[in-house]
Symmetry: C2
Subunit: 451 residues, 2 copies
């Protein structure tokens, strides 16, 4: 079963499952890897998902569950006895087990406690300590299982510890050994490659690389992913305020965080949710409606502004024809600059101190694009109505609206960031709506002045 | 120098560099890791970047260059002699060296050839073979350096090969050994962790895991990243049509691809570029202007539609007040469904065969949100103008426009995908513009009918 970019056998369409016998389902599961099975479970309906999940081994379930949409995971564990969930959790690394217990707590607190108390001593203490951290922090995504060595330990000693981890806890994704001092404070690292090539008797203090990147346990997980990406780390060690090594976050979690963050950013621009194919219509409605209602409110304000200029519009009906253009262009220009600034702040390429420089650049760019757009529009209006004054008014308004929207779009996220608010909300409907209202007012005000 | 989410020392603001002496610059560079230096070089102006780069060692330069924006990289290598670029390339893995030569080819073909011929035999042949692949494919991002073992080789043999790779080629990011048959075809894998724990005399055929995920050399790099993420791979082996192992793509490249892809998707929605903080204003203008001009064209069409309904508008001026709302809401609803569908298609969670099911879901959702929005708007219009007929007209139009925009937004990317066109263009300005024109026509048509 080699992988060729095709995510799933095309034969696996939703409808097929009803005709499958248990043996056929088992064969199908045996032919696919956990990653593919997770995608499949997300796509099919509750009944088919339950049927497929029922014939999977605990080992496969433990790998599939963390990759599922939250809604699918909840549907599968909602009715499952604590003992069965406990057996699946027993096959998981501590981070995934903690997530599972956390999910279950939201469904059934008592059953979650049963699962916890059913785990073996060591895993229970790991999971319990992980559950104390906020979900969106380094502590909330880290796993407790990791390879470590004390400064005075030899390569042989550390290999012995890795052997134990592999055998007793079934950890199979170790890439780096973290070196700690007597107080279990992180002081260095050595790659598994380095360990493999080192003489068995050598001590960690001679071998270790003291330039170790770590993140505090309270760090936001998006910032953690940025650290992993900036330094190309296969796993990121997590430490407490004293520098004591608490856990590590591996690249598969970084992949998930980056993907989630991208979906979130896109969602903020378009008013959609990160869980792009959420199955429940009600959830989709609940999530899209507020965004549309903000837009509706903005549009109403624009309508009120227009009605305030009733006299102007009734004298020159043509003025109304260009309201949509002026609004639309202002909205687009504003979203362009705010998106750039929000992304730049998120990736760290833009700093709050760059405010004035950024505004100056945006102003230059928008002056240029604004001039082109207004000249084009002016020429068309002139050709259409043959009135130089109309053309000039529409054209000048468009330029002003584009300039104003750009500056507002670039400045808002920077100012939000400075005051400690998440700048990403600036790419939401608020900036578009604000620009709509300002734009219509600016445009009709100018029309009123000139006519 | 531990890492705490803070991407850069705040003291490192752009203006400071002019006052720095060479020794101070060297100290500053010594205190920061390559990932931080790359971010810094991207932020400062050409002159400061050149000054900083000048005092870096070839080793640091080799790590910094691949992480730079293309424009910054070009500004640094534009005037650099071939011998110097060659020395930097000599410190790089083959994939980064190939990218550097490729960039240089676009600036100065002859110098690129000089750099190539200055590389040692083995690296030159690796880089030359990589340059044959398309930039956006697995072949274009893979590196040739990897750990492999033949089926009949022992653990000892493979460790010897890893030792050579570490020493001669300075490869330090090996996570997996790929196992090949006599024809160098990929047949299995074993993690470095597994190798570390295995008896030194054991052969690969006993140790290897035959369930190996690989991607074809021609696969699009975004699909490659999806494979890495789905199966949580720290590196992805790349094979030719016969299954022969050609190279591997490591998780740092996957991070870059995912980040780039997200920026691209966001750019398509808002009309901004993936290179979010591109320094040249001209480039920014060239990239934003077409998007705004499409919007301008759409707005003009809407104006023409409005002028066609001149009689209707002059009889009821209020009708014009609600044009912006109807247009804006249609645009928002359309972008919401198209974004969902495009993201779903990109992540593989949505398949083209789901067209009807998806349309049905979107229709249900939009009927619900449309009903809420139109009732709210209808009530407000009734309160405002006291005319039931006006309220009904505006309200009904809004519902129709939201339904139409949703269906168009969901269907367009699915139909594009089916015909082999990149569905992501549907989140661009075209769908908004299309919805604007249809929305105004639909609305004014209804107003005309009712009044």
């Amino acid at each position: 079963m080699s992988e060729h970019g095709e995510s799933l056998d095309p034969a696996l369409s939703r409808e097929d499952f009803e005709d499958y016998e248990r043996a056929e389902l088992e064969e199908l599961i045996g032919q696919h890897r956990p990653g593919d099975l997770a995608l499949l479970l997300n796509r099919v309906d509750d009944e088919a998902a339950a049927a497929l999940f029922a014939v999977m081994s605990h080992e496969v379930r433990a790998e599939v569950l963390p990759d599922l949409d939250e809604r699918r995971r909840d549907s599968l564990i909602a009715e499952m006895p604590a003992s069965e969930i406990g057996e699946i959790a027993g096959e998981m690394d501590s981070d995934d087990a903690a997530d599972l217990v956390q999910d279950l707590r939201e469904i059934d607190e008592a059953r979650a406690e049963d699962v916890l108390s059913g785990l073996d001593e060591e895993q229970r203490s790991d999971v319990e300590s992980l559950l104390l951290h906020e979900e969106d922090t380094a502590g909330g995504v880290m796993a407790r299982e990791l390879a470590w060595g004390a400064l005075d330990e030899s390569v042989e000693d550390v290999i012995g510890r890795i052997r134990e981890l592999s055998r007793d806890r079934e950890v199979d994704d170790l890439y780096v050994v973290y070196v700690v001092d007597k107080g279990h404070r992180l002081v260095g690292w050595i790659s598994l490659q380095g360990l493999l090539l080192a003489p068995r008797g050598q001590r960690m203090e001679q071998l270790q690389n003291p330039d170790v990147v770590s993140v505090p346990v309270t760090l936001d997980k998006e910032d953690l992913a940025a650290v992993a990406m900036k330094h190309d780390l296969p796993s990121v060690p997590v430490v407490d305020a004293e520098g004591v090594l608490l856990g590590r976050v591996t690249m598969d979690d970084v992949y998930d965080i980056v993907e989630e963050e991208a979906a979130e950013d896109i969602g903020r621009i378009s008013g959609t949710d990160e869980d792009v194919l959420e199955h429940s219509s009600l959830a989709v409605i609940r999530q899209r409606l507020p965004w549309l209602l903000v837009g509706l409110g903005g549009g109403l304000c624009a309508a009120i502004v227009m009605s305030a200029f009733e006299a102007t519009i009734s004298r020159s009906l043509q003025a109304a024809y260009f309201v949509p253009i002026v609004m639309g262009m202002g909205g687009s220009a504003g979203i362009q600059s705010s998106t750039i600034v929000v992304r730049g702040l998120a990736t760290g390429e833009l700093q709050v101190e760059d405010l004035w420089l950024r505004l100056w650049r945006e102003l230059k760019v928008s002056l240029a694009v604004g001039l082109v757009c207004s000249l084009v529009l002016g020429a068309i209006v002139l050709a259409w109505f043959g009135e130089a004054r109309d053309a000039l008014t529409v054209s000048l308004s468009l330029l002003c609206v584009i300039l104003q929207a750009t500056v507002l779009g670039a400045a808002t996220p920077l100012l939000l960031k400075r005051t400690g608010v998440d700048p990403a909300i600036a790419t939401g409907p608020f900036i578009t709506t604000g620009n709509d209202i300002l734009g219509v007012g600016l445009y009709l005000g100018l029309v009123h002045l000139f006519l």
